[in-house]
């Protein structure tokens, strides 16, 4: 019979190319490899930064030098050599862009290949975009509309020049330089990223979006995002990531800090599709990311992530629920295939009274990959009536992969109510036959079932992203085991 066997599927998967693995041929201005104080100073100079910023970076560099790489995560990889990386690479182009028409046409082509043609985005959806290629922000759209409402949305390099008081106040306030090895490194060498400030009482009228792309070989990308939602404001922020296929490993060490002041709400969504390496496990991005948000009174931060890329993922978007009645949410789908390894999850730190957190984590492992959920729910002695609900589900495809759950639950207040559930499952033969009988082939059936598995998370994504995320899930699992 014309059976589409697991082996067929595997074969097909192996021949599947990384769809976003193209390289844009743009001239770039790149530093020689290596890292020392001079390089840090040079990066700062390149950006015309004020002295306080240079000092801040140098301080971070000195801290970083004393630190060692963390080893507790459930991932195995050859450690990157930090002296073999170029810490600055920028596409060469006109110094300042006033409109999209001035963007390098090669770059625009890149965006189109990414499926995020800026023009189309503009037309279809109300999305303001900031685009970061390698290390530099190259285009920010919709600036004017945002300005009218007092919203600041610009590259962080620009914010350092134009809004130093905000940057000084908040940069490093949530993720201090001393936080961890990669955060310290990022603090020393970050070259760009997005900055966003929503004034008091303002509901941001459109989705804000940043697209990150590593283009140049042998570089690291260290972007820094700082997002401040002032009292009573609301913003939904999207972040997308891709990188070309290369056979060396590229390093990505980002830091994202969110501040939600009283009654503010931040929705932060990520679709991460860095190059995951080839089917042999060669190449791929090392993604070491520190993301953390602080909630003041009645504030809410919601992290949603769809993670399909990177060779190694090390990422725990977290919420510090400092204010009373604040709410933290974490919705995640992490897919690993071939030789990918992901160790991802969240930390919910309950400090205020009546704080609430929800964790929904869906891990899908295929091929020879390893997918770990690592999460911390911490209820401090003073946090009365804290609530947490966590659900961690794993879907395994084949018997060469692994799914792991490492939840840490620490409760020091008697009024806390915590519920944690975890399950593992596979795609059943009977489910596939049922779909087949209704005319749906095995591959499509797998996509359907996986999308169903991740539905609670996909539903949390803004519409424009949900479609893309679903497509990504399909691509990254295409031909996986049935």
């Amino acid at each position: 019979m014309g059976k589409f066997t697991e082996d067929d599927l595997k074969k097909e998967l192996e021949t599947k190319e990384y769809e976003y693995g193209f390289y844009t041929d743009i001239e770039s201005d790149k530093f020689p490899i290596g890292l020392n104080e001079d390089v840090v100073i040079a990066i700062s100079k390149k950006k015309n930064e004020p002295a306080w910023m240079t000092e801040w970076r140098l301080d971070a560099f000195r801290i970083w030098k004393e630190m060692t790489e963390p080893e507790w995560a459930n991932v195995r990889y050859e450690k990157p050599s930090f002296q073999d990386i170029s810490y600055y690479s920028a596409p060469i182009q006109k110094p300042k862009l006033n409109s999209l028409d001035e963007v390098d046409p090669e770059l625009l082509k890149t965006f189109e290949k990414l499926g995020i043609s800026i023009g189309e985005q503009k037309r279809l959806s109300n999305v303001a975009m900031d685009i970061v290629i390698d290390s530099v922000s190259v285009a920010t759209t919709f600036k004017k509309t945002l300005n009218e409402r007092g919203i600041i949305f610009c590259p962080i390099s620009e914010a350092i020049q134009e809004h130093p008081e905000l940057v000084k106040k908040y940069l490093g306030s949530i993720v201090p330089k001393t936080d961890n090895f990669y955060a310290a490194l990022n603090s020393a060498v970050f070259s760009d990223g997005s900055f966003c400030y929503i004034p008091k009482g303002v509901t941001c009228p459109m989705e804000l979006s940043t697209y990150f792309r590593i283009n140049e070989g042998g570089t690291g990308q260290f972007e820094r995002t700082l997002l401040i939602a002032d009292e009573g404001s609301y913003v939904s922020y999207l972040e997308g990531c891709t990188a070309p296929a290369r056979d060396e490993n590229q390093l990505h060490a980002a830091v994202v800090e969110l501040i939600a002041l009283d009654d503010a709400e931040i929705k932060y969504s990520t679709v991460q599709n860095w190059f995951p390496g080839d089917k042999e496990g060669k190449g791929g991005v090392y993604n070491f990311v520190t993301k953390r948000g602080l909630c003041e009174k009645n504030a809410k931060i919601s992290w949603t992530q769809v993670e399909t890329g990177s060779a190694i993922t090390w990422k725990y978007p977290s919420c510090i629920l400092k204010g009373d009645n604040s709410v933290g949410e974490f919705y995640s789908i992490a897919v690993t295939n071939n030789f990918q390894q992901a160790d991802t999850g969240t930390k919910m730190i309950h400090l205020g009274n009546n704080t609430k957190s929800t964790i929904i984590s869906k891990g899908i492992s295929a091929g020879h990959s390893h997918n770990s959920y690592r999460g911390l729910v911490q209820i401090s002695p003073r946090a009365n009536n804290a609530r947490n609900f966590s659900q961690c589900d794993s879907l395994l495809m084949g018997d060469k992969c692994g799914a792991h759950t490492f939840p840490y639950i620490e409760v020091k207040n008697k009024s806390a109510q915590i519920e944690h559930e975890a399950t593992t499952s596979k795609i059943g033969e009977d489910q596939l036959f049922y779909c087949n009988q209704r005319g749906i082939n095995t591959e499509k059936a797998i996509a359907l079932i996986v999308n169903g598995f991740g539905k609670e998370v996909l539903n949390k994504l803004p519409m424009e992203f949900a479609v893309e995320a679903q497509k990504l899930l399909e691509i990254s699992l295409e031909g996986s085991v049935g």
Binding site: L396, P407, V411, N413
Partner: protein
């Protein structure tokens, strides 16, 4: 002198005292173990496995390692800690020394005796060589420490097709003959094919002096054998216990360990199951009811290595005052272990602010066709149930105690020895201050 140095430097004296045969298996095992312990030392909170339990308060004491003066202990002194209303074999150790007067051993259908005599007699050489220290986890430095000083404890050897007619009680008493004493009992249990045994283990301090017990038990469960093991931990506030129990199961065997922790200062239970065959069932049940500054850390591991096996794990905890509960349940399902069913549940109630629970239910799955789940809840008593009971005239304090009692009841229900069940019920009731107006 630091405790570690003291232990290491006492090793030679300990071996010499025993007139040890330098060619014997046990000598080699001890030598290797003391070396491992010396290299690894005591675990600290930096070790992931000891993240929530610090041994520091225990390591400061100047323990007597070999209490020599055996205080005379009569039946009257220990009666309260024995289950007397059933026929049983009893192995009673006082300050680490076997007390034959209080014990009842056998060599008839099976061997229920002491490890020191098994180590000394050629008749048991095969058993010792085949089993001793074969599954104790070499990465557990405390188990290695116990192995270095392996000498005395229970030796239970059940041949195949034997149903041991009565339960076996193993009780370790400390008398306070020294101000601070370290005891290291070592139990070896081998259960042959188709055999069945029930074992109750207890540690009891009879004085107000300090006792630290570092106990290791290895249990080998052969084909289709059934082992029910009960651990009663209701010691004084001056007593701490580090218990490491390792269980190796062959096909179609069923092993159950029930741990009841109500007393003691710091109690750490390492309970590890290793599957060596198909259709194995492992059951792990526990209930901790703590108050004051008590600290109980239950670390469990079920290592599913073969297909078609099951494990069921249920741990409950009630924590009052400034007590601390830790649950770290690890389930590994290896690639070959298809069709595994592994369930794990940890439910806790905090009674007072200041009490802490740290729970880490951990799954590591490498096979796809498996059913694994874990659940963890932390909460309070059901307010509506409380109100309901109050409305029927039950005062709130009693109502709470009754609800807590009911919370732990599904673990108690798993006890298969009626007399033990009633004892545990009474201990729970006492701990919770519940007046039991009826026999449970």
């Amino acid at each position: 002198m630091e405790l570690k140095e003291k232990l290491v430097s006492s090793f030679l004296a300990f071996e010499n005292k025993g007139n040890i045969d330098l060619d014997s298996t046990v000598h080699a095992i001890r030598l290797n173990a003391i070396h491992n312990f010396e290299t690894a030392g005591f675990p600290t909170k930096k070790d992931e496995e000891w993240k929530y339990t610090s041994l520091n308060p225990l390591l400061k004491n100047d323990y007597s390692l070999f209490p020599n003066a055996e205080k005379s202990v009569g039946f009257k002194n220990v009666e309260a800690y024995l289950i007397n209303d059933i026929e049983s074999y009893t192995l009673i150790f006082v300050d680490g020394v076997f007390n034959s007067f209080l014990s009842e051993t056998t060599h008839e259908d099976c061997d229920v005796c002491v490890l020191s005599s098994a180590l000394a007699r050629p008749k048991y050489k095969m058993v010792v060589d085949n089993y001793l220290n074969k599954i104790a986890n070499k990465n557990n430095s405390l188990a290695e420490l116990n192995t270095a000083f392996v000498k005395e404890g229970a030796f239970i050897n059940i041949p195949k097709n034997t149903i041991v007619s009565k339960p076996i009680q193993i009780i370790n008493f400390s008398t306070g003959s020294e101000k601070e004493v370290l005891l290291q009992p070592r139990n070896l249990v081998v259960v042959g094919e188709n055999s069945h045994v029930q074992i109750i283990e207890r540690h009891q301090n009879l004085s107000k002096n300090t006792t630290l017990t570092n106990s290791v038990t290895e249990i080998f469960v052969h084909k289709r054998a059934i082992v029910d093991y009960y651990k009663i931990q209701n010691d004084t506030n001056e007593s701490s216990l580090i218990d490491s129990t390792f269980i190796s199961q062959k096909q179609q065997s069923v092993a159950t360990v029930n741990t009841f922790s109500f007393g003691g200062k710091i109690t750490r239970n390492n309970l590890e199951f290793y599957h060596e065959g198909e259709n194995i069932t492992s059951n792990l049940n526990g209930i901790s009811i703590l108050n004051e500054k008590q600290h109980v850390d239950n670390h469990t591991l079920v290592d599913h290595k073969s297909p078609n096996c099951e494990s069921h794990e249920l741990y409950k905890g009630i924590y009052a005052d400034k007590s601390v509960g830790v649950f770290n349940g690890k389930v590994i399902v290896r690639q070959a272990a298809q069709k595994t069913n592994a369930f794990q549940q940890n439910n806790s109630i905090l009674i007072d602010d200041g009490a802490t629970i740290n729970s880490k239910p951990q799954l590591e799955i490498f096979a796809d066709d498996v059913k694994c789940s874990h659940g963890c809840t932390i909460g309070q008593l059901d307010e509506s149930a409380l109100f309901y009971m109050q409305s029927r005239g039950i005062p709130v304090k009693e109502a709470k105690a009754l609800l807590l009692y009911a919370f732990g009841n599904d673990v108690v229900e798993k006890i298969k020895i009626p007399q033990l069940k009633s004892l545990i019920s009474k201990l729970i009731a006492k701990k919770l201050n519940v007046q039991l107006g009826f026999e449970l």
